[in-house]
């Protein structure tokens, strides 16, 4: 019998629990729907912003491109005309420079030729003078050589010749003195030598060598 209240209480509790759970489910579902709605709105806003930005970007790019094209076209025009102008100026400058260079070269050449002529004239004059001086000095030296050195040289040569002759004669004498005895010695036979020695012994005996 006590179990019935318990069971009732339990049922009531369960029902409360189910009620709360159901309530929360519904609440959650509502929140979820709200969230989805907000999310959808955010996405739409985002897409709108992005599209707007992209459109603006395209416009900016187009404007910039157009302006750049204009500037480039303008610059091309300026560049071409400047080029033409510069070319004309350069051509004029080249002509002027060429003319001036030719004038300068002509002047330089004429000055150089004039200077060379002056130098050669001066050198020729100096050279002639030097040659003249050398000629005079040479004549004086030749004269002095003939007067002083030549007799001395001749005397020295003569002395040398005499000395060499004497030396040669001495050498020949020495050779004859050395060679002749040997040749004479070998030209005598043993018998001749024997006879001559016996003659020497006889002479020695007569001279009293063995007394």
């Amino acid at each position: 019998m006590p179990t019935l209240p318990l069971q009732i209480i339990q049922v009531v509790a369960d029902l409360a629990i189910f009620f709360f759970i159901g309530y929360y489910f519904l609440k959650l579902r509502a929140k979820e729907a709200e969230l989805d709605k907000r999310e959808g709105k955010v996405d739409a806003d985002y897409h709108q912003i992005v599209d707007t930005a992209l459109a603006k970007e395209r416009k900016i790019l187009e404007d910039a491109t157009a302006e750049a094209d204009q500037i480039i076209a303008g610059a091309r025009h300026v560049s071409q005309s400047a080029k033409d102008e510069v070319s004309r100026a350069l051509q004029l400058m080249v002509v002027d420079i060429q003319k001036e260079a030719m004038d300068t070269a002509k002047n330089f050449t004429s000055n150089y030729q004039l200077t060379l002529k002056q130098l050669s004239a001066q050198s020729t004059t100096d050279f002639q003078e030097i040659v003249k001086g050398l000629k005079n000095d040479l004549q004086i030296q030749i004269q002095q050589f003939h007067q002083n050195l030549l007799p001395v040289l001749e005397k020295q040569l003569e002395d040398y010749r005499t000395a060499r002759l004497a030396q040669t004669e001495k050498m020949v004498t020495s050779i004859v003195q050395k060679a002749a005895p040997e040749i004479l010695n070998r030209s005598l036979s043993l018998e001749d030598h024997r006879s001559l020695v016996l003659e020497s012994l006889e002479k020695a005996k007569k001279a009293g060598a063995f007394d």
Binding site: D192, H193, L196, V197, K203, A207, A209
Partner: protein, 167 residues
Amino acid sequence: METLDLSDFFTSKAESSDFCSRLATVSQSVYETDFDLQKALLEQFGILKKDKFMALLRDNEISIESNSDLQEFMNKICQKASALPTVTISLAFEPDETILKEFSSWFVLNTNHQVLIDIQIDPSLIAGASITSNGKFHDFSAKSKFNQMLSDFLNSQSGPTLPASPA
């Protein structure tokens, strides 16, 4: 005692020394038991000189049976050999044995005594000989005459007097 003629055994001083040395060898063996004089002489001097020595013994009447006489005689020979005078002869050529004997014989014939000849060879003498005897020197070679002739000839060619050639 007959005078000893040793000219058949040696002519020069070197030969004399060699002869005396060999003779001394024979003399030392005289008193040996089986001493044979002829055999000993043959061994030392050869057959020719052995015969001449035997003849010398006979000429000097030395008995070969008496060992003491033999020894005494041999010693006397050596004494005489060492006492012989020496004559130095410088020659321009090298004489053979025959010529040396002839020179030695010349001394025996012309001076009546044997001498020992000391031969020296000097080719610069050209010919003839220079002799040194009894301490005296005599130049009988052709060298001095040749030098004089050469000097005279050169002087006649060159004019001024040239110094004489060295001896």
